[in-house]
Structure formats: C-alpha cells, structure tokens
Symmetry: C2
Subunit: 137 residues, 2 copies
C-alpha cells in the first residue's frame, strides 16, 4: 500500500507537531510505504527542502499524491500545502483520512464539511493509531 | 465576471488581514461580482457562519468556486480552506491569481511551485491593486 502522509511544513506548527508527525509516520510504515516519510525530518521544518526548486518539490509531491492508495492528512495546523493536497486528492477520488487533535479552534468548513473525506479527531496518539487501524483495515 | 475571493477565515490571521481583505474585495467589485464578498464580514472571522452547517458552507462555496471565472486567493496566511480551494480550482483549470504580502516566512511549495496559477507578491495594497489590474485586464 502506498501512503501519502500530508502535514504542515511551512504553515502553522504547534509544540506537539513534531512528536505527532514522527509517531504517526512511523506507525503508518506498518501498513505500507510512506511516500512522504522525509516530511518529518526536522531539517525541513519552516524552510522546506532547500536543495530543490519549488516546482521540483511540487511536481514530485503531486506525483506521489496521485500515485498513493490512501492519503492520511494531519489537519491540526493551518496549512496551505495540506489544504491544496486534500483538494487535489478529492478531485482524484482518493481515499482520504484527515486526523485532527481535539481543539477549541474552528476547523475550516472546506475540510469539516467535505463529504468526500473521513475526518476524525483524536485526543491521544493512541486514539489516532486506533483510527488509522480502523481506516486501513 | 464572477470572482471568487479566497481568504483565511478559520486559519492564520495577521494584524493587517482585515484591512487587506476588505480593501481588495471592495476593489474587485469594480471588475465584476465578488461571490464571496461576505467573507470579510468581521462576524465570521475565526468562527465561520454559525447559522449554516459545515456541509452547507462547503457545498455553497464549492459551487461558487466552480462557477467563478477567476479565483483571487490571498495567501499571506496559512489556511487549509484556501489551500483546498486552490487545489480544487487547479483541477478545474480555473484562472487563479495568488496574492501574498511580502514576508520572510516560507510559502508552501505546493503554491509557489505550482505552474497552473499566477503568484504575485505585494508590499502595499496599491501594489496588489496594480497586480489585479494587470491580471484581469
């Protein structure tokens, strides 16, 4: 199974984001190939992959997105990139799971109101893992 | 001309966002109908339109997006909704202008590296208006 894990890189971060992303990517590797595994590399946070042009990053990631069997998107943080990836994946009828840490902040209605994806909140990382189990089984 | 103005509602805001959005929406009305004019209403910032379900908001906004002749997206703030709208609009071959206030923060490569949209930075609102003039003429 090819898995595209989408997460905020240049957008918002919260203090837990690093732990969440590394834990979930590691967990997803039990189920298949995580195409975007390197997204959780701390070197690219906030600045991206400086050795590649923006177009090269975009085109590579889009190819991965379109080749993936499933998209797991961490949507706890505001992010143009994650939103863009979800929008394009919806148009390609991809199977999409959006995971969001429970929060008082409002989630965009473009995500919470989209009936072409599955949105699940989690409180602990174990909750998120259980949701992944259910979704991918 | 039908114009979809996309902006962060539930995502990041910066101190200038209100002025930017109200000024640009008002300016765009010179060129046609701004379908999303009410987005700049301060009552919905951070909490959305509480009288509508998320699905009703999503479906209405998506219909507007797909019926628009042009998308003007303000991408200075991280936003899942704006990213999602751009992603879906790209798939429908819409004419898209992304406007971004000059900043040291990195913009997602999914926006800066996408060759199916026009991205322009602005420093003053007059710069942004001039860019709109060029783009819509």
């Amino acid at each position: 199974m090819k898995i595209y894990y989408a997460m905020s890189i240049s957008g918002q971060q919260n203090p837990e984001s690093d732990k969440i992303n590394t834990t979930l990517i590691e967990y997803l590797k039990k189920f298949g190939e995580v195409l975007t595994e390197h997204f959780s590399n701390p070197d690219i946070k906030g600045k991206g992959e400086t050795e590649l042009s923006n177009k090269a990053i975009h085109d590579r990631d889009l190819n991965w997105l379109l080749s993936a069997d499933v998209i797991i998107a961490e949507v706890s943080n505001a992010s143009l990139g994650v939103g863009y990836e979800i929008g394009r994946a919806v148009e390609h009828n991809k199977k999409i799971l959006c995971l969001r840490k429970t929060s008082d902040r409002r989630l965009s209605a473009m995500i919470s109101g989209c009936d072409k994806l599955t949105l699940k909140e989690y409180y602990t990382l174990d909750d998120a893992k259980n949701t992944i189990n259910e979704f991918l089984k």
